[in-house]
Structure formats: C-alpha cells, structure tokens
C-alpha cells in the first residue's frame, strides 16, 4: 500500500516544536520566538496554535512539563520524552520523504511521465 500523508501538514507545528524542545527545554513564549528564528521568519506559529499543540503533545506522552520560578514568574517548561524523540524521528522522516517527492515533481517537466 502506498504511503499517504494526511496528517502531515497539520503535523508541521508538532515537528518544529519537538525539534526545538529536543535541544533544550523551553516555555511557550520562547518557543514562539525560536520557531520564527530557526525558520528564518518563514514560519510563524501563533499562540493560538502553539499552546494547543504543546498540550496535545504532552497528553500523548511526547512532552513533559514542569513549573519553574524565573524572575518572579512561574513558567511552564516543556521537554521531550523518549516517546517524543521517537515521534520526532518519524515526523522528520515523513517530512524528508514528502519534500523529496515534491522536489522531484517540481523539477520534472510537466507531462514528462505521460
């Protein structure tokens, strides 16, 4: 059966969040800024997307959180679990597979395969 990627586009925030959190623990505001920085401002995940994604990843065991008092505020820091690392690997492979497919399609002259 051919591989499909229905959840792929909706998985981009998860991929980026897992990738960033795999490097170090961060809190929501830091993540919003980091996504913008690491993608060269190409992708900007709004708060309306990032917090539901973080909570969903935590609920499915990909992330864990802890409260940490910093500068008089209690922040919620997220970090990746071993399950999250496995999911990151899977999402990264999926991304490379789709990207390679799209690259081929873009380079191929239209109608060449007919």
């Amino acid at each position: 059966m051919a591989q499909t990627n229905p959840p792929f586009m909706s998985g981009v925030p998860e991929l980026l969040l897992l990738r960033l959190l795999d490097q170090r623990e961060m809190y929501g505001y830091e993540l919003v800024r980091s996504v913008r920085e690491v993608t060269g401002e190409a992708i900007s995940l709004g708060e309306g997307v990032i917090y539901p994604a973080l909570h969903a990843l935590e609920r499915n065991g990909s992330l864990k959180s802890r409260r940490k008092a910093v500068g008089g505020r209690t922040r919620v820091y997220y970090s990746v679990t071993s399950r999250g690392q496995a999911r990151l690997g899977k999402l990264a492979d999926e991304w490379r597979r789709v990207r390679a497919g799209v690259d081929v399609a873009l380079e191929e002259p239209v109608g060449a395969g007919a």
């Binding site: 809190y27 505001y29 709004g46 708060e47 309306g48 917090y51 539901p52 909570h55 209690t74 919620v76």
Partner: protein, 141 residues
Amino acid sequence: MPAPDFGALEQRLLLAGTAPAVASRMREELEDHYADLVDAGCAEGQSAESARHAAAALLGDLELLVQVAGGRPELKSWAWRWPRLASTVYPVAFVLALPVVPIAAGVAHAPAIFRWAGCALAGALVTAAIFLGLQLAILFS
C-alpha cells in the same frame, strides 16, 4: 487597549469542552505570554501603554486558540469524550455525595458547630429552669 480577558478565554475553553486542567493552565501560560510581550515592548523603549497595546495586538484574536483547542479530541474533558458514561457516573456520584457533604461540612466547621450547640444547650437549660421555677411557683402558691 485593555489587557485581553483571560478569564473569559478560560470560560470559552471550558464551554468548548476542553479539560478544566488544560484550560486553567493555558490561561496561566497566556497571561505569562502576554506579560513577556509587554516586557519585551518596554525593553525596546515603548511606553507601558503602547507595549500593552502591541502585546494585545500580537496575541490577536484568542478565539482562534479556542477553535484549535476545541478541535483536538485529546484536550477534551472525559465528560465530553464519553458523554453517556458521564451522564451515568455523575448522578450516581452526586447521590453518593449527598450524605457525605453535610458530614464533611460539619467536620470542616466543627468549632463553630460546637459553639452553636453549646449556646443552644445553654438556652435550653435556662428555658427549662424558668419553666421549672414557674411550675414550682404554681404548686406552692
């Protein structure tokens, strides 16, 4: 521009079926996020008022967050995920809780109840003494 109404956001999340723990923590995180945006604006030299204005504009319409969170089944409360189970468990739980609630309230307010009981007992003794005195007065008159 006033600060976004994070309390209303939490209520909207709850009405959309989001689990109470998730809604409450999202509210806390967004309040912190807003404060971080205001701090960043002030650090860039903006006045407090314009920093708050810019922060609220950057946060944008929080209804989007309600829609996104509401569209994720894993963030829903268990009563939303299994409504039939909830409609069975909740009535049973409430019936079981009914006799427990007054007892728990009594334990929680034991000193006040003892004071009230002491006053009632003292009142009853005074009343009984008055009646006894009246009765004796009638007998020996």
